[in-house]
Symmetry: C2
Subunit: 138 residues, 2 copies
DNA sequence: ATCCAACCTCGAGTAAACTCTAGATCAAGC
DNA sequence: GCTTGATCTAGAGTTTACTCGAGGTTGGAT
């Protein structure tokens, strides 16, 4: 096991793919728990922060707002006793994400129907029957 | 067949779920093709506009920006000769949406792993093995 | 000792997509 | 004829999530 190299904001930026500006901004938003400072006032990060930013990214990609990530981060900072709350928050999020995914898949299906419609129109030269509308079956 | 009732912006707002402000803003953005005006200067809509807004909503839900919808709307206004371009635009969009969906599903999976992790931790009282990180297999 | 890159804070600017306000006009009912 | 509610335009304001800039330290290399 070798000693981890010093990880300053530039290194974390490279490792995480976020700009240093963004990382500092995340910190002002309460999204970066447990950041030490060295003697010169520079932020010092650990490997755990790379993993944290990766997880933050997953939350973001699934549509969680910064506001809700703040809540989550605040829970994390409260330690073990916030486990039930964190679990609840993530489960509620999961439910919303699944619903969103279902809606997006349905929307994609309708877009694909439009593609088929245009495709048929273009290849036959004849305007085909209407794309079925929302709220009607088949 | 009965005559369609006059559809003013308030009616379209109700029918589409968009505020009148938004509908007017869409128009300024070139997203509302073929809107007539009556003698008093009021916008007059047809049933087709309800369908149009529904389709716009699908594009939006699948993540298309207003900027790209402008391009699509402009093509629609150019009539039949823009069919190949519309088809191309929608197909490119479909490809992007599928990629986004895949990424979001993967992110959801990681969030669910975190949920399982918390769940195990909470029920056993013991911190379980780490949630697998990105980029590693299993 | 001095240079330069990387860091710091604070505050302003940006982009997207609405959302709202003010002040004016129109039209249908009483 | 008058009121009232819906509509009009033009433009300003809001929200979210960054993104950038100015002006000022810090610290390792020469």
């Amino acid at each position: 096991m070798r000693k981890a190299p010093e990880l300053y904001i530039g290194g974390l930026s490279e490792a995480s793919g976020h700009s240093v500006h963004t990382i500092r901004w995340y910190e002002t938003q309460g999204l970066m728990p447990g950041v030490r400072r060295d003697a010169g006032g520079r932020r010092v990060y650990e490997a755990v922060h790379i993993g944290w930013l990766e997880f933050i990214d997953q939350l973001k990609r699934t549509g969680m707002s910064v506001a809700e990530m703040q809540v989550y981060a605040a829970l994390v900072m409260r330690g073990r006793k916030s486990l039930p709350d964190r679990l609840e928050l993530l489960k509620a999020h999961r439910t919303r994400v699944k619903a969103e995914l279902a809606k997006t898949r349905a929307a994609l299906k309708l877009v694909e129907q439009k593609i088929d419609y245009y495709d048929t129109w273009l290849t036959t030269g004849e305007r085909p029957a209407e794309v079925p509308r929302l709220g009607r079956k088949r």
